[in-house]
Amino acid sequence: MGILSRLLRGAANEVADDAVRTMVRDQYTENLFDMIPVAKKVNPINLAEIVMRAAQGTPIPRPLGSHLRLSPWEKLLFSPVHLFRFPTPEDVGINTSVKIGPGARKPLNISIPLIIAGMSYGGALSKNAKIALARAATMVGTATNTGEAGLMEEEREAAQLLIGQYNRGGWLNDQEKYSRLDAIEIQLGQGAQGSTPQRSTAKNIGEEYREVFELEEGQDAVIHSRLQDVNTREDFIHLVGRLKAEVGIPVGLKIAATHHLEKEMQIALDAQCDFITVDGAEGGTHGGPPTLQDDVGLPTLFAASRAAQFLIKKGANRDVSLIATGGLVTPGQMLKAMALGADAVYIGTAAVMAMIGDQMAKSLPFEPPTDLTVYTGKLTDRLDVDKSVQNLFYFLNASVREMELVAITTGKVSLGDVNRDDLVTLDPFLARALKIDLGFVSPESQAAFFSESLTPGAFQTEFKEVTVH
């Protein structure tokens, strides 16, 4: 061991000894250790956000959405088959393609059921990041989404299939722009922000951003809580009808998942939307108030399930596509959302993380990896677009392959064929809510188990025995 190393170890030992002595001897109220129970009580994230609010006095823009995992995806499992139904032979190709908006004159056909979510240029991501997302999507034969933005020429050129958001900022709402899209998604809300207004201040808006959004110098980019001229149910129905007549491509609605889901969806059906996107409470964002992220909305799992059941109840599930999104980060979660009834899923945060991949070394340890991709990031010039495209392409390919393997073990030849019957849960309440079997008992015993368990006093005997002892 070298002299320097011995000296450092000796110094570290002295410091540690001193810290332990101080911690043991100091009164608790004066003790630095007090931070540990305080941080545990309020949790470190809440603690940091309390002090940020105290320092800034305005709502703090937390990036990438809620850290709370409200959808219990891990409580659902796929059921493999062996003899009763045979697994799919490995030389049989699994169909991964999906038709979005089958009722539209020009439906949107995608090769895989994973679509790049709406993350806007400027409001969220840099130009390089948007181009990389579009190129990777094109490589795998899927679509990417403009987010709430104008039409960026470079994104349109790079994306074979581009879904554009008819948005509350009004930046893509001219026929000249939306007629160049492959699908229109009317954006009325998002999981991480509900239907609240948002603002990008002029200070953070560069020249190219202004051009794409057609803003004056010094003008903020404002997203309103409502779409301009849509103040009644009839206004919305009229808008959808007009867009469908003008363009022929699928016209859909995107909303933040909510307990009013079925009422909202009924209006979308009345308007004859070709697809509906439900963005669960776990949805990401470039930055939004933590309260909107953690305390508003409906978790993606329940939103996807309820939306799918509603479409089936209305007999609309074959004509109206359902896209689920919000916090879906693993191939298992994505396929479970599909098994519950989604035709396809959007991925945002996972796509950005995959795109950055091993390039995160360029930002760490002094800046977060997202600094390479967000519009206001300091390191956007250092994002290698070609490498980003390859990273995301590999991620999408690997994810779909893992989904295909589940299709094989459940004996299916198409990802779209994997359904609720292939799922089982270990939670009785989830079983009832999602209409899937409970893994505790055989399929034949489900009804008996629930009727016995729900009999008044079913758990009473056990309780009495415990109290007697």
């Binding site: 190709g93 090769s111 795998v140 034969g141």
Partner: protein
């Protein structure tokens, strides 16, 4: 200007071509899937990269096959409705 063939004959020709494209896409898709299996055996990074590209091609060819089937069905529907008139 060359005379356009009858619509029903054109549709029949399209139907036949779509069936052929569908078969070709299916065969190529299977071939690419086999390439993926063959190339990943070596556990070589560059070959795996090529294998991933082959797997992706296989999926997109699978989609072309599905699109051809759907279009052929649509043509059959049009032909049937024309026959009924």
């Amino acid at each position: 200007m060359e005379q356009l063939p009858e619509l029903s004959e054109t549709l029949t020709a399209f139907h036949s071509d779509l069936n052929r494209i569908q078969t070709m896409a299916g065969t190529l898709s299977q071939l690419d899937r086999q390439h993926y299996n063959d190339l990943t055996k070596y556990e070589d990074k560059r070959l795996t990269g090529i294998a991933v590209a082959e797997q992706n091609s296989s999926r997109q060819l699978g989609e072309i096959k599905q699109l051809c089937i759907a279009m052929a069905q649509k043509i059959e529907e049009i032909q049937q409705s024309m026959g009924q008139k």
